[in-house]
């Protein structure tokens, strides 16, 4: 993440909290107010409210059928909300047709016009606006230059590679300098290596042009790499809107914790509920979980404790404090991933816990191997208690 994005995140965080620093308060560009979209009995988008700020790269993340694409299509004007309002740059756009909106969309299939050359594709939107042809030419050259496709301007889309097509689709949508660019799975059709490179390219273009991007994706890694903020959707609702960092470290629900990165989720009973700490008794662990922050739970009720695999320590030696936050088990499997390895530890209760360890030294013999009896432990501050 760049410094630019980091600053914007801070500003947005202040604005969301209602704090007012008049000079650098980000301007909201999209306001979605209680929007619902029904298809017959099926509720695709359920009472969603969301504010997106100018200059942000905002991701809508969720599995298939969660309503993220429907929400994006409502922003583009291809779907009309069943109820609620959509404001773009302060103007009510709920019932404005797509061709009159100050937004453009990059389609998942790219939707390049097959009967037009690359240049004609990029010029298409400009010509609709009645821009003089000399200016159109200049702008097209400028746009193709951004994505280094100037040499291929006379080709037809079918003569381009997948990555080239993706970039043509991007600049075609950007050519009209929209206030907001909507991207529907922009990297979905690219292979992994190309996708990783393109993610950063996309962020660079977004920051240099200062256009607000709203990206729909199902890939949490992609959302994490690119976005200022992420909204996680499930079954038509938004569960959490946050920066990737906050989303990962402070998930507010079980679904978010499990969707955004991998996690070890323990279900237990809240036995002690104090202002500065809570204790959860989990039958799968031999010792209770001690969490060093308070939660708004009910003593005796069910609680979920989420611990990320990299925040679990693995050792053959007994930890210093064996009264809490630890358990014993046997290494069942080791998944080597290059930079790190994931150990699957089978606890005495039968529960399998994932533990990630950095492979920091090249020639080092792994200290812990298959069938070793080990202790797992974690810091009280590394546990997040989430609601179901």
């Amino acid at each position: 993440m760049s410094q630019f994005a980091r600053n914007l995140q801070d500003q947005v965080a202040r604005a969301e909290k209602g704090g007012s620093i008049p000079t650098d308060t980000p301007r909201s560009i999209i306001q979605i107010q209680n929007v619902t979209r029904k298809f017959g009995d099926f509720v695709a988008v359920n009472d969603v409210s969301l504010t997106i700020y100018e200059g942000e790269l905002f991701s809508l993340l969720g599995g298939s059928g969660c309503g993220k694409t429907t929400l994006l299509r409502m922003l583009a004007g291809f779907e009309t909300p069943s109820s609620g309002r959509i404001l773009i740059d302060g103007q009510d756009m709920t019932h404005i047709p797509p061709f009159e909106r100050p937004v453009n969309m990059m389609f998942q299939s790219y939707a390049l016009f097959p009967h037009m050359t690359v240049e004609q594709n990029v010029a298409f939107g400009l010509k609709q606006d009645g821009m003089p042809s000399a200016e159109v030419k200049k702008r097209v050259a400028e746009m193709l230059d951004i994505v280094e496709l100037s040499a291929l301007g006379k080709r037809k889309p079918h003569q381009l590679s997948g990555g080239q097509r993706q970039r043509v689709a991007l600049v075609r949508a950007l050519a009209k300098r929209p206030k907001v660019l909507l991207l529907d799975e922009p990297l979905g059709a690219l292979d992994k290596k190309l996708r990783e490179r393109t993610q950063l390219e996309l962020v660079n273009i977004q920051e240099s042009l200062g256009v607000t991007f709203v990206v729909v994706t199902h890939d949490q890694e992609e959302a994490m790499t690119m976005s200022c903020r992420v909204a996680i959707m499930n079954q038509g609702r938004i569960l959490q809107v946050d920066t990737p960092h906050a989303m990962y470290e402070y998930p507010n629900t079980r679904f978010v914790a499990e969707f955004f990165g991998s996690v070890n989720m323990f279900e237990g009973i809240l036995v002690e509920d104090e202002a500065d700490h809570v204790v959860i008794d989990c039958p799968e662990l031999s010792r209770p979980i001690y969490v060093s922050h308070g939660v708004s739970g009910r003593e005796g009720g069910t609680a979920y404790a989420a611990i990320r695999p990299e925040k679990v320590a693995l050792s053959k030696e007994e930890p210093a404090d064996t009264s809490r936050n630890c358990s014993t088990g046997v290494v069942q499997d080791i998944v080597y991933l290059g930079g790190e390895s994931t150990y699957l530890v089978k606890l005495d209760s039968g529960r399998v816990v994932r533990v990630s360890l950095q492979n920091a030294y090249r020639a080092a013999e792994p200290e812990i191997t298959w069938d070793d009896r080990v202790w797992i432990s974690w810091q009280p501050s590394n546990v997040v208690v989430v609601s179901s």
């Binding site: 004007g77 453009n104 389609f107 016009f113 050359t117 939107g125 609709q128 006379k154 037809k156």
Partner: protein
């Protein structure tokens, strides 16, 4: 291992390949009956340099078909068109004959073709056919395009029903359907009676035996040939292209002109060819529905053959019509080739 079909025995001859394939080949050899001595024709056709095997054999069948049922009759008609009318069986002069057992005399009579150019009736009939066929094609396109578009945009279940309705008339003979139009269009027919019954007109409108009736007949009969190719191109059209056009600022009508129409061009061309070409030579519709004043070349040809019994002139009419129809097709194929080359050049 390559397996070829032996066209006469119907069995597979297996040429051995290294490794495991060899055992298979041996087995086949052991199971097969002792080879029969092959006929000489067999050797010419299926062995040696001019061998007809595998792919060649498959391609040969349609060529043979065309040779038998298209090229041979065409050659006969072409031959007759260069003969002269005479009373006898057959009713034309021979093209090639022996004179005094010494000379081979080839007589090429151009009288048939000359007659075509001299008598303005033929030229008029050609022009009339082209005009009527072209107008009917445009009418079919104007009617068929919205229908094909509607079918392509409907839900998959209704789409099949609508397509079935389009081809449903084919279950009745073409001739009977054209006859049925006589019942509708004649002076005391269905349409006139209905209009008079509703009080819109006082006396019947003369519809049968007019050019109007011919247009009705051609458009009605050939509309499915326009709709079906249009439907196939429109159905393949990616809906997100239209959305992209609208997203970039096109109103729906303009998006149609800029995206849908150019992309459905192959369907438009195919549909127009399928309607125009048979309409030019149409005989049944102008004969049954048209009047004496409307001249179409198909009808003129029929008259020449069966009423005047002037086979050479009729053949000349047929050959001229063929040239008239082949030229646009060749032109179109040229155009397509040029387009393809342009596309290829663009990729360089």
């Amino acid at each position: 291992m390559s397996t070829e079909l032996d066209p006469l025995t119907g069995g597979a001859t297996v040429s051995p390949a290294p490794g495991a394939a060899a055992t298979v080949a041996e087995q086949t050899k052991a199971d097969a009956p002792p080879p029969r001595p092959k006929h000489r024709l067999y050797r010419v056709l299926f062995r040696g340099p001019l061998a007809l095997r595998g792919r060649g054999l498959v391609i040969a069948i349609p060529y043979l078909w065309l040779l038998l049922f298209f090229l041979t009759p065409f050659a006969i008609v072409l031959k007759i068109s260069f003969a002269e009318f005479m009373v006898g069986v057959p009713p034309y002069t021979p093209l090639v004959e022996w004179v005094d057992d010494t000379y081979l005399k080839i007589t090429l009579a151009f009288s048939g073709y000359k007659y075509l150019l001299e008598d303005s009736m033929y030229v008029n009939a050609y022009l009339g056919s082209l005009r009527i066929a072209a107008t009917a094609t445009v009418l079919c396109l104007l009617l068929g395009y919205p229908m094909a578009y509607g079918i392509a945009r409907s839900s998959p279940s209704t789409r099949n029903v609508l397509l079935l309705l389009v081809v449903l008339p084919f279950w009745t003979s073409f001739l009977i359907r054209v006859y049925a139009w006589i019942g509708i269009l004649k002076n005391n027919g269905l349409l006139n009676n209905a209009l008079m019954g509703l009080g819109i007109i006082n006396e019947p409108i003369e519809m049968l035996n007019t050019e109007f009736a011919i247009y009705i007949g051609i458009v009605y009969s050939y509309l499915p040939f326009m709709i079906l190719p249009l439907y196939t191109t429109l159905e393949k059209l990616d809906g997100s292209l239209l959305e992209a056009a609208m997203d970039l600022g096109c109103r729906p009508w303009k998006a149609f002109l800029k995206v849908t129409l150019p992309l459905s061009m192959p369907g438009i061309v195919a549909g127009c060819m399928l309607v125009f070409i048979p309409s030019v030579g149409e005989f049944v519709i102008p004969d049954l529905l048209g009047g004496a004043s409307t001249l179409m070349i198909g009808k003129v040809m029929w008259n020449e053959f069966f009423q005047n019994r002037d086979w050479p002139t009729a053949s000349a009419v047929a050959i001229a019509m063929l040239i008239l129809l082949v030229l646009p097709i060749v032109g179109f194929q040229r155009y397509q080739l040029v387009q393809e080359e342009k596309a290829r050049e663009g990729s360089k």
